[in-house]
Symmetry: C2
Subunit: 189 residues, 2 copies
Amino acid sequence: MTTTDRASTKERLLDAAAELFYRDGVSIGVEALCRTAGVSKRSMYQLFASKDEVLAASLERRAPGYAAQLAPAEGEAGTPRERILYVFGQAEKLSAEPGYQGCPFLAALVELKNPEHPASLVARRAKELLQEAFRVQAELGGARDPEFLARQLMLVFDGASARAGARIETLDGLTTATVTTLLDAAGVA
Amino acid sequence: MTTTDRASTKERLLDAAAELFYRDGVSIGVEALCRTAGVSKRSMYQLFASKDEVLAASLERRAPGYAAQLAPAEGEAGTPRERILYVFGQAEKLSAEPGYQGCPFLAALVELKNPEHPASLVARRAKELLQEAFRVQAELGGARDPEFLARQLMLVFDGASARAGARIETLDGLTTATVTTLLDAAGVA
C-alpha cells in the first residue's frame, strides 16, 4: 500500500471500529469489522497486530472529540461550578440522542473485564482525564477536598452514563441536580 | 432425562452460566458454557430454547441471593437512613472481593446493548427492585421527593459498581459519604 492508501485504510477501519464496537460491543468479529470498513483482513493485519489493537486505536482516536463535546470551549467564561455543571448538562443532552449507549470508554471497560487489555488502558486514561478536569475545577472553586469531590462526580457521571445507555434511566436534570447537591456540600460556591 | 436428571442438569448449567457470564461477559459461547457445566449441547437445548434464555434464567436465579447480600436482614432494627446506608456499605465490601466485576445485572445491561433481550428484562427488573427498596426507605425516612432520591441513589450505586468492577476506583467509604450528603440534602434524618 502507498502511504496515502495506508492512511485512508486505517481511517476507514477506525471509523468502522468505533461505530461497531459502540453499537454492538467489543465482541464484534474481525470479519464484520473488515466488511463494514470495506477493508481486507490482509490489509487490517498489515496495519494492526490484532483486533484488540484496532479497538484500542479506535478509542484513542475518539477520545479528543468526546472530551470536546463535554467541556466548555477554551476561554469561555464561567465559574468552576458552572464549568463542572456544564459537563453534566452536555452529558444529559448526549444521552437523549438516538443510538446513545453510554460513555464509550466506560462501556469498553465493563465489557472487556480486563484492566490490562490495550483498549482498557486507553479507556482508563480517558476517564482519568475527565476526573482530573473535575479535580482542577473543584480546586479552583474552593472545594474542601477536590480529589474526593472529583471521585464523587465520576460516580455520578458513570452511573448516569451506564443507566441512560442501558435505557433504565432518563436523565432530564437528574445529574445536574445531584451534582449541585455535591458541589454545595463540598463548599464549591 | 428423568425429572431429577433434568433438575440437576439445569442447575449445573445455570451455575456455570452465572460464573462464566459474570467473569467473561455475555458473548461467551454455547461450547464453553456446556463444557464448563459438563452438559451436552443436546441436553442444554432440551432445557432452554437458546443461550439467551440460559443467560436470562441464570440472572433470574441469582437475583434473590444478590438482593439478600445487600439488604439488612428482615426485622433487623435500624432507621430508614441506616437501612439505605447499609446497602452501600455492603456493596463496598463486595467490591473488595477478588473476582468482583461490578453488579452482574448492570454489566449484563451494558454488554447486551438491547433492552428487549430476555436477560436485559431480568436485569432491569432486579435494578427496579433495588430502586423501589430505596424509594420505600426514602419515604419512611421523610425524604422530600422519595422517587427522586431513589434515582440519585441508583446513580451512585451503579456508578460505583461499574467503576470498581472495572478497577478504576476503590470505594473505601466513597459511596457511603456521597449517599450521606444526598440523604442530608433530601431531608432524611
